[in-house]
Symmetry: C2
Subunit: 340 residues, 2 copies
Amino acid sequence: MRILIDGFGGDHAPDEVIQGAADAVREYGVEVTLVGDERILRERMKVLGVEPRGLSIHHAPEVVPMEAEPASVLKQYPESSLVKGLELLRDGGGDVFVSAGSTGALMVAATLIVKRMKGVARAAIATPIPTNAPAGMTLLLDSGANVECRPEMLAGFGIMGSVYMRRIAGLERPRVGLINVGTEETKGTETLKAAHRLLGEAPVHFVGNVEAREFPLGGCDVAVTDGLVGNVMLKLTEGWGKAFSDMIKEMFMASGKSKLAALLVKDGIRAFKARLDYTEHGGAPLLGLRRPVIKAHGSSNAKAFKNAIRQAKGFAGGEIIAEIEGAIAALKQAAPEGEH
Amino acid sequence: MRILIDGFGGDHAPDEVIQGAADAVREYGVEVTLVGDERILRERMKVLGVEPRGLSIHHAPEVVPMEAEPASVLKQYPESSLVKGLELLRDGGGDVFVSAGSTGALMVAATLIVKRMKGVARAAIATPIPTNAPAGMTLLLDSGANVECRPEMLAGFGIMGSVYMRRIAGLERPRVGLINVGTEETKGTETLKAAHRLLGEAPVHFVGNVEAREFPLGGCDVAVTDGLVGNVMLKLTEGWGKAFSDMIKEMFMASGKSKLAALLVKDGIRAFKARLDYTEHGGAPLLGLRRPVIKAHGSSNAKAFKNAIRQAKGFAGGEIIAEIEGAIAALKQAAPEGEH
């Protein structure tokens, strides 16, 4: 299997990308192609002392800046690592593409280059968030690509997320929940009510509306929302994680006595941190495209890139995309377009 | 000043309501009317050993059950403590009404009985949430009454929240933020873009779009959202609070060593808990009505009711409603109806 990775995406590119890729080659037995400026990549590999075994380079002289307007990336940065990597994926030069670059740019470029699969109205960003659910995380989608969604898009997210979690997290029957203001099926907007009906007919284990309070507590394995609510949930979760971590740090740093306490529970603190660590669960798959693409966290370090590559291996090898296509087609038959 | 309080709202009614009311009479020099079944209230006061000084009772033989359909409360429970209390408020029998009953029922009944103020399209539930903002909390509105909102409703929420926070929390220029998926004014739905324009013209200190990540960190004093996003934020915050508290408990209860650590930082743990304690900031005002109404938390104990009464005193005494009416009128002039 060949993993393609954007050598110039994220805050710590290219060094941490290179290191993570090298570690992944060694640990997971995959081949990795780093996409980016060949001269720079070779030079940094030498500086980092990284062996080229299992690693190759696909040249792309440009870099997409974080502030680039997603819609114009293809025109403005045709030679970028992002665009070149996606083209290589489309053309069969690799099995999956990983990038820690701008989410918006990746989503737009991937949709234009790799294209959506048949029957999928919109692709979604599916972010794994650490929760008390059995997999240690809940997949939240859409977490930001589509601020407004029609009911059939939301139903599609449920199907895609369910297949992904079954295949990747090994859950037999992932519990798919629709994030809403109450558990009764009469709650929420007309869109949410219609999505509730569609999900009830879809080939997933639909557990109905789920209130956001239950999300951290593991109330579902796949949380379906539009990209506005999903993005707010993702970022609010990040914010509370930061706020709580700061509070705990403050608590333990207050005095000599509290510093001693920190020593006594240092394993507990480590476990606490590990549980909130996004790098453990890899990146966010873009679901609904014809080939697998993964968005790694912008602040990914080598370990996070390595985990994203492990996840990419599962995504590429699991026939997930073929299965999603089949499930979407089944939904279409159950509820033909235009009915809702 | 006379505070009216629903004697039969909340999980711990009527005992904790009575106790909280008695404590408030003593501490804040207000008079309190308990609304509810007179015989039961008198009996419980006797059992609790509560002095009737400063306390009176307004008889209402019925109780609205939590599962009651909000829209039918007026017809089905005309003699309930909720309905009778709101009627008493409307008729001048008190200056403010506090209830820990069902949020939906309170909002619908209050809108029908007390009525919305002139120029306000929809009343909102404004929930104070503990954050790192200067007031120790951020006012989140709407936190659940209106799942879909037009731009002028969102602008109205910003104005109402701003006046409330200036008067109640004593902030000179409360920072009003619009919760959105990014900070640029081009982000989000058409509704959010239009609301951004309206808030920019409104008589408030508008700080623009605020990402949910900044909410816990104190990025604004008033967070404006529709009731769907607001409700998700409120409940997700509750969920993470619970999840983090459980994790900390687990960390400190793991072993003898960790229990010793807990002793060493017990002041810190207490401060941590206090910071997450909803009772510190009282209840959620319903903003946009002609008379002040406060929704206390359903699980309120005596201390929470006492704090809600303190807050009610400020709400009733602060000419907040008159000021909101003036500000809304100013917005209407700047952006006449139908323009957006």
